[in-house]
Symmetry: C2
Subunit: 415 residues, 2 copies
Amino acid sequence: MNWRVIEGGVTAPQGFLASGIRAGLKPSGLPDLALIVSEVPATGAGVFTTAVVRAACVDYDRRVLGTGEKVKAILCNAGQANACTGKVGEEIMQASIRRLQEVLGTQEHILVASTGVIGRQIDRDKFLAAIPQAVAALSREGGMAAAQAIVTTDLVTKVQALETEIEGVTVRMGGMAKGSGMIHPQMATMLAFITCDAPVAGELWQAMLRRATDKSFNQITVDGDTSTNDLVLALCNDRSGFPLISEPNSEAAKKIESMLTDLCIYLAKKVARDGEGATCLIEVRVEGASSDEEARQIARTIASSSLLKAAIFGRDPNWGRIAAAAGRSGVTFDPSQLRIQLGNYVLMEQGQPLDFDRAGASQYLKEQAERSGQEQNIDHPVVIQVKIGEGQGQGIAWGCDLTYDYVRINAEYTT
Amino acid sequence: MNWRVIEGGVTAPQGFLASGIRAGLKPSGLPDLALIVSEVPATGAGVFTTAVVRAACVDYDRRVLGTGEKVKAILCNAGQANACTGKVGEEIMQASIRRLQEVLGTQEHILVASTGVIGRQIDRDKFLAAIPQAVAALSREGGMAAAQAIVTTDLVTKVQALETEIEGVTVRMGGMAKGSGMIHPQMATMLAFITCDAPVAGELWQAMLRRATDKSFNQITVDGDTSTNDLVLALCNDRSGFPLISEPNSEAAKKIESMLTDLCIYLAKKVARDGEGATCLIEVRVEGASSDEEARQIARTIASSSLLKAAIFGRDPNWGRIAAAAGRSGVTFDPSQLRIQLGNYVLMEQGQPLDFDRAGASQYLKEQAERSGQEQNIDHPVVIQVKIGEGQGQGIAWGCDLTYDYVRINAEYTT
């Protein structure tokens, strides 16, 4: 890691403004409209939900990015997902884009995102009336306000900004995300927005975002559900003064991708930790697979096991559920090679359970949860290490425990 | 349906004896050893877990059935799954088979199954000492006792027996199952044993069981977890007096397969209804797909959505979660064709949410749960009907709601 954590979120990089305001779309009256604007047209990249039933904004953004043309801004509302809302919903989306272009006085593309209840229309009048207010509220310090305006059942906002030097030039990257519920591989109701003030050529920026997403947002799971609206959008402009990065193997490209990956992993872990009702973050590290992809798949399967997640909530070092989850991941391996470690406790070796200190392992789970409990801390995950053989493939996935509160939140959340 | 429900379980068919006794393997002291014996060697079939990490009994039974040779009995213990128990566990299994052969005075094959905690050894001495007792307890009325001895966290035993006439001959089929927790497609910690007194040729019997399982046990889901031990075993002998059924397209074969499928569906629904902590059975019917397999896949995905399952526990007619689950099932369809119905309430048509009677739909969910609450009743499922297009493919899946008790049970169940 050659970067430093700095203050601010998506407005930490040069040339980005943001705002988060109350448009009256959320019944709670909390902030619900976020706007990110690049002073100069920016290069966009995106990764989207693979669901067949998806919001119009997903298709719209994909089309915009497909043109390869520059992007001026990202507009995101919370409260209604604008999915399963038909022609009316699509028209509201289009009207919001036109309205924002007018107010900003631009013909450049706008990317859009929505999160909230599926199938309920956004209040068109309130939405359009709020857009000038969102523009008026734009500031270089608006990153945190924007992050607050995109959350739904999240308990904490998820923000980070990083800074590094590349060839003597200071380059910054910022990001924000929302998650909670419906978090799962293939992009769940999870939104993430990333900004960077070093210019990266379009296809390379897209490739970087795809790889970073595969190692981060696609490796988190809360409950196995994916959503209609998930996306990660990334904008980069040239305001750091660094020249265009277009050579994939250059040091600059590697540094940017490494920073992007770390930023995405940070945000992804924050999202997993803030899974609905969760009391701790679970990190599953798999090694010895024949490919990274296979290792990631096993890690995801373990991290998404309801039985394991409930056992961890019960502070029960139930290695049997880890072994069972690994065994049904779809990846073939020799079970007599299986090794499972929880924290510092080796629970299984060469496919055989060991006599481990059960009270100590349970205490480890208790302690990690206690440490995690403070402000949704991600620095003390429950670490599960699994080795399935001698291959070079490795991967990490993150999840959270399954608690009474998960059920309560999802039984009570109203349609 | 040309069959009648009759009394008894696996001993309802002619020529089958069973017993269920207390071997002292379960810490609770409840019955934990079940034995089914065919008076004459029977034809066996089996469907097994696809997990890589699996119990030795799974591989053993598959090898036995692979020989095509006759089977004398099925021995099943509860309390310990005898999975991840290595050479010692395998030796205990082999010793139990030898002991049972000795006591029964047979050289015929014995099939074995286990369920319970993974990774803990079965108490060898208690297990072997109990086998003569199990044989001594065999009777023509032992079906219910056997069913009681295979449960773990199940709240009710799952038993059914059917009777029909084929060409004037009375033919009977009986079955028992255990489930609860770790129930999911591809055979979760779910055991089912079926007996029949009409003789079916080996390959045909196996093909029938495979197809019946695909429509029943592989279409139920409780929590997405699959286990190391799941299997369905079926034995048929010739004690009804009906001659060998070997022609797949004969009326007799069709009648037997139809009865087998209905029996498996009944047992599968009982297992789903008894999912850990569940308050109701959920039935998801999908039509309009291009194949039955695709329809089944969508149905399974919907039935296994944690968000939907929690919403149903909250008696919340959340069609958005149904649409989202259908959309991420991996099956491609035109979302503008999507139709969703809950009970008699049409929630969505042509991909658009309708203004439905929300209070009425919520009341429907309440009523079905109340009706379901009586002795794990399966006659009042919450029915979700989904149509995705104009294709001929259709499929049904069953699940249950996600409740506080699911979390409690799995957080407290000890390793």
